[in-house]
C-alpha cells in the first residue's frame, strides 16, 4: 500500500506552444498594470495599497504592478499537500501530478430509487461523500451539493460534518456565511485535535471566487482573507464564460482567467507569504443558441488545459474543471461529454480537476449512477495519462523472439506478469458475449451503474468518527442533522 493516493503524471497534452504561454503571460501583466481589477472589498483594497499597488478607492480599481505579481508567484508554494484523514488519501499537488474528484455545488439530484429530479438534502451530502470514499478513481471530495432540508445558518456545518463523517479523502468546499466558515474551522480543529495538527495535516480546504470579468466582490474576498490568515489551503477560481464574460476567443478567455486567478493569488500572498494557494479555473463557454452556461463543452476542456499550461509556467498547482455534462440524465451524451472533457484536462496535467463525477445539466444536478460511470471514465483517462511505458522489459524483444512466428503470447508468463498494469479493466462496461448479456438481463449502462451505486450506499463503511468524538461534535453544533 503506497503511503499517498495513486499518482499519475499528466502533461503530454499541450493546447498551445511554450512561447505562447509567455505571450499570454505578458498580456496578463499588461492588463494587471493598465486595466486592473475591480476590488469592491475595501479591506482587500487597502492591503493592495499598503503593498504598493496603484489603487483608486473611488473606482475600486486596483492596478497590480509586475513586481508585485512576480513576488507573489515566487512566494506561492509549488507543492501543496492536501491531506486525507488517512495518509493513504494524501494528495501531493505539484508539477503535473493529476487527480480528479467531485465538484458542484448543486441544488438537485436524480433520486436513485425513482430517477426523479428532487432537491438535495443532508443525506445526499453524506451519500456522495460515501461514494467518493468507495470509488477508487475519485481522489477528493469537493462538497458537491447544498442540503435544502436544514436552516440556512446550519448549511455550512452540515455540509462539512457529513462529508468528514463519510469519507477520509480530502474535503474541499465553498462556504456561505462567515459564521459558518468559523464553525467549520472549529469543527475541523476538534476532529484534528487542535489547530497545529490541522495545519500540519490539512484535510480540509476552501474555495472562494473571483467574479468575471475582473471583479473581486465583498463577501467572498472576506472569506479569502479569513482563510489565508488562518492558514488552510485555498483556491480562488475564476469562471469566465467565453463569449459572455470573456472574449469568445479561447486565448482571450485563458488570459482573462489568468489575470483573475492571479489577482486572488496575489492578495493571498500579500496577507501571508507562502500560503498554500491554488491557481483556479472553472471557465467554460456560453451557448450561443440558448444564451446559457455550458458545462460539457469541448471548449471548456481546452480553456482548462490552457490554464493548466499557465499554472505550470508559474509552477503553482492548479484547481481545474473537467468531466461534466449538460445532459439531463446519465445517457450517451453524458458519457461522451464527460469522457472528452475529463480526458483533455487530465492529459494536460492539471493537478486538481474537480467536477469530474456525477454532474449533469449545466452543473445543477447530480446523479449517483453517473458518478459510478464517471469513475470508469476517469479510470480510462488516467490510463491514457499513464501513456506507454517503454523499456527493455516492456518492448519484450526477447519474449517476441521466444514465442516466434505463428506462436501466441496468451499463455506466456510475461503476459500474466504485466497484464494488470498494462490494461485498464472496466467494471461498468459490458464486455460479455451477447448471449451472456441477455442472460444477465440486457441492462444498459445506467442500469448497471445503478446496481453498483446501490451496493456502495448499502455496504460501504467509511472511517467515520469515534463515538465520543461524534457525541462531542453533535453537542457543540446543535444544527447538525
Amino acid at each position: 500500500m503506497s503511503k499517498v493516493f495513486q499518482q499519475y503524471q499528466g502533461g503530454s497534452n499541450k493546447v498551445f506552444p511554450g512561447d505562447k504561454v509567455k505571450e499570454i503571460h505578458e498580456a496578463s501583466v499588461h492588463l494587471m498594470e493598465k486595466v486592473g481589477v475591480k476590488v469592491h472589498n475595501p479591506r482587500a483594497r487597502q492591503i493592495f495599497a499598503d503593498h504598493g499597488a496603484q489603487v483608486d478607492h473611488g473606482e475600486a480599481i486596483v492596478k497590480i504592478p509586475r513586481s508585485m505579481l512576480e513576488d507573489a508567484v515566487a512566494a506561492a508554494p509549488s507543492r501543496v499537500l492536501l491531506c486525507g484523514r488517512e495518509e493513504k488519501n494524501d494528495l501531493v499537488l505539484e508539477g503535473t501530478n493529476t487527480y480528479l474528484g467531485t465538484g458542484g455545488t448543486v441544488l438537485y439530484t436524480l433520486d436513485l430509487d425513482t430517477g426523479e429530479r428532487r432537491p438535495t438534502e443532508v443525506r445526499d451530502v453524506a451519500g456522495y461523500a460515501k461514494m467518493t470514499d468507495a470509488l477508487e478513481n475519485v481522489a477528493f471530495f469537493v462538497i458537491n451539493c447544498y442540503p435544502q432540508d436544514v436552516a440556512t445558518e446550519d448549511v455550512d456545518v452540515n455540509r462539512f460534518y457529513h462529508s468528514f463523517a463519510n469519507t477520509s479523502k480530502h474535503v474541499m468546499g465553498g462556504i456561505y456565511t462567515m459564521e459558518g466558515l468559523k464553525d467549520v474551522i472549529r469543527l475541523s480543529e476538534e476532529i484534528a485535535g487542535g489547530k497545529a495538527n490541522l495545519l500540519a495535516r490539512p484535510f480540509v480546504s476552501f474555495i472562494t471566487l473571483i467574479m468575471s470579468p475582473l471583479v473581486m466582490e465583498v463577501t467572498y474576498t472576506d472569506f479569502l482573507m479569513e482563510i489565508v490568515r488562518y492558514g488552510l489551503p485555498l483556491t480562488t477560481p475564476a469562471e469566465p464564460l467565453a463569449g459572455a464574460t470573456a472574449p469568445v476567443t479561447l486565448a482571450g478567455t485563458v488570459t482573462i482567467n489568468n489575470v483573475e486567478s492571479l489577482a486572488g493569488l496575489v492578495l493571498a500572498q500579500l496577507i501571508r507569504k507562502g500560503h498554500p494557494t491554488l491557481y483556479g479555473t472553472t471557465s467554460s463557454i456560453m451557448d450561443m443558441v440558448t444564451g446559457t452556461y455550458m458545462a460539457g463543452a469541448i471548449e471548456s476542456a481546452l480553456i482548462n488545459a490552457g490554464c493548466a499550461q499557465m499554472a505550470q509556467y508559474y509552477e503553482i498547482p492548479i484547481y481545474a474543471t473537467g468531466g461534466m455534462s449538460d445532459s439531463k440524465i446519465p445517457d450517451c451524451q453524458a458519457g461522451y461529454e464527460s469522457a472528452a472533457t475529463a480526458m483533455i484536462v487530465a492529459l494536460a496535467g492539471a493537478n486538481y480537476i474537480h467536477d469530474a463525477f456525477g454532474l449533469l445539466e449545466f452543473c445543477t444536478t447530480l446523479s449517483y449512477e453517473k458518478m459510478v460511470i464517471d469513475n470508469e471514465i476517469v479510470g480510462m483517462a488516467l490510463r491514457a495519462v499513464r501513456g506507454i511505458e517503454v523499456n527493455e522489459e516492456t518492448i519484450a524483444a526477447d519474449i517476441i523472439a521466444e514465442v516466434g512466428p505463428g506462436g501466441n503470447f496468451l499463455a506466456h508468463r510475461h503476459t500474466a506478469g504485466h497484464v494488470r498494469k498494462e490494461f485498464f479493466f472496466p467494471r461498468v462496461a459490458d464486455r460479455q458475449m451477447r448471449r451472456d448479456w441477455e442472460a444477465s438481463g440486457s441492462a444498459d449502462t445506467a442500469a448497471r451503474a445503478k446496481v453498483m451505486a446501490e451496493e456502495i450506499l448499502r455496504e460501504h463503511r467509511p472511517l467515520g468518527f469515534a463515538e465520543d468524538l461524534e457525541a462531542l461534535l453533535r453537542k457543540n453544533y446543535a444544527g447538525i442533522k
Binding site: 501466441n408 496468451l410 499463455a411 506466456h412 508468463r413 500474466a416 497484464v419 494488470r420 479493466f425 458475449m433
Partner: protein, 205 residues
C-alpha cells in the same frame, strides 16, 4: 503441504508447485490425494475466480501450467488409478490455422482434470475420425475461427456422427453459435473457455 500446492497453483508458480508436490510425495501423501485435493481443487478455484472476473485469462493459463507441472510428477506414480475425469480429442478444423481459442480450451480442460489429445490446426475429418478410433474419447471438440471453415466443421461433425456415434461433439469459435450447433447436429456449443469446461463436464455425465 496440500495447502501449499494449492496456493502455488493459484499463484501460477510452476517451480513452487513442483517442489511442494515433491515434498508431499516424500511425506508419503498419496498421489491421488495430491491430484484431487490440491491440484484439481486449485483449478476449480481458478475457474471460479475466472468466472467472477478476479483472475484474467493469462493468469489462468500460468496457473494451468503450474498445475500441469505438478501433475507431471505425480502421474507416473498412479498405479492403475484413473485420475482423468474424461478424455477429449480436440482440434481446429480443416482449412483453419487459428489455434489460440482451441489452445485455451485445451489448457482449461486439462487443468480441470480432463485428458486432452490435441490434433493441432487444419485437421481433416479423417484425422478426427482416426484419433477418435485410436483414443476412444467421450468428447471430440472442434474449433473454427473463419466463417469459411464452418462448412468443414459441419462435414467433420457429420462424419463423426455417422462413424463414431457414441462420441459427443462440442464446437466453439467466433463465427459459430448454439443455433449453428443445432443445425449441424453437434452435441453442444460453448461461447468461451470457461463454459467449454462446464459443457464438457455436462456431456460426460
Amino acid at each position: 503441504m496440500i495447502q501449499e500446492i494449492y496456493t502455488k497453483v493459484l499463484a501460477g508458480e510452476s517451480d513452487g508447485v513442483r517442489s511442494a508436490v515433491q515434498k508431499a510425495l516424500d511425506e508419503g501423501i498419496k498421489p491421488s490425494k495430491i491430484i484431487n485435493d490440491a491440484l484439481i481443487k486449485a483449478m476449480d478455484e481458478v475457474g471460479a475466480r475466472m468466472k467472477s472476473g478476479e483472475m484474467y485469462v493469462p493468469e489462468v493459463l500460468i496457473a494451468a501450467e503450474a498445475m500441469k507441472a505438478g501433475l507431471g510428477l505425480v502421474k507416473p506414480l498412479l498405479e492403475g488409478e484413473a485420475y482423468a475425469v474424461g478424455k477429449v480429442v480436440i482440434g481446429t478444423v480443416a482449412g483453419d490455422l487459428h489455434d489460440i481459442g482451441k489452445n485455451l480450451v485445451t489448457m482449461l480442460l486439462e487443468s480441470s482434470g480432463f485428458e486432452v489429445i490435441d490434433l493441432g490446426v487444419d485437421a481433416s475429418a479423417e484425422v478426427f475420425l482416426e484419433a477418435a478410433g485410436k483414443h476412444k474419447p467421450q468428447i471430440v471438440g472442434l474449433s473454427a475461427l473463419l466463417t469459411t471453415t464452418m462448412a468443414s466443421m459441419e462435414a467433420t461433425v457429420k462424419a463423426l456422427r455417422e462413424k463414431a456415434p457414441g462420441i459427443k461433439t462440442m464446437i466453439g469459435g467466433a463465427p459459430v453459435s448454439q443455433q449453428f450447433a443445432d443445425e449441424i447436429g453437434a452435441g453442444g456449443y460453448a461461447p468461451d473457455g470457461a463454459s467449454a469446461v462446464d459443457l464438457a463436464k455436462k456431456l460426460i455425465q
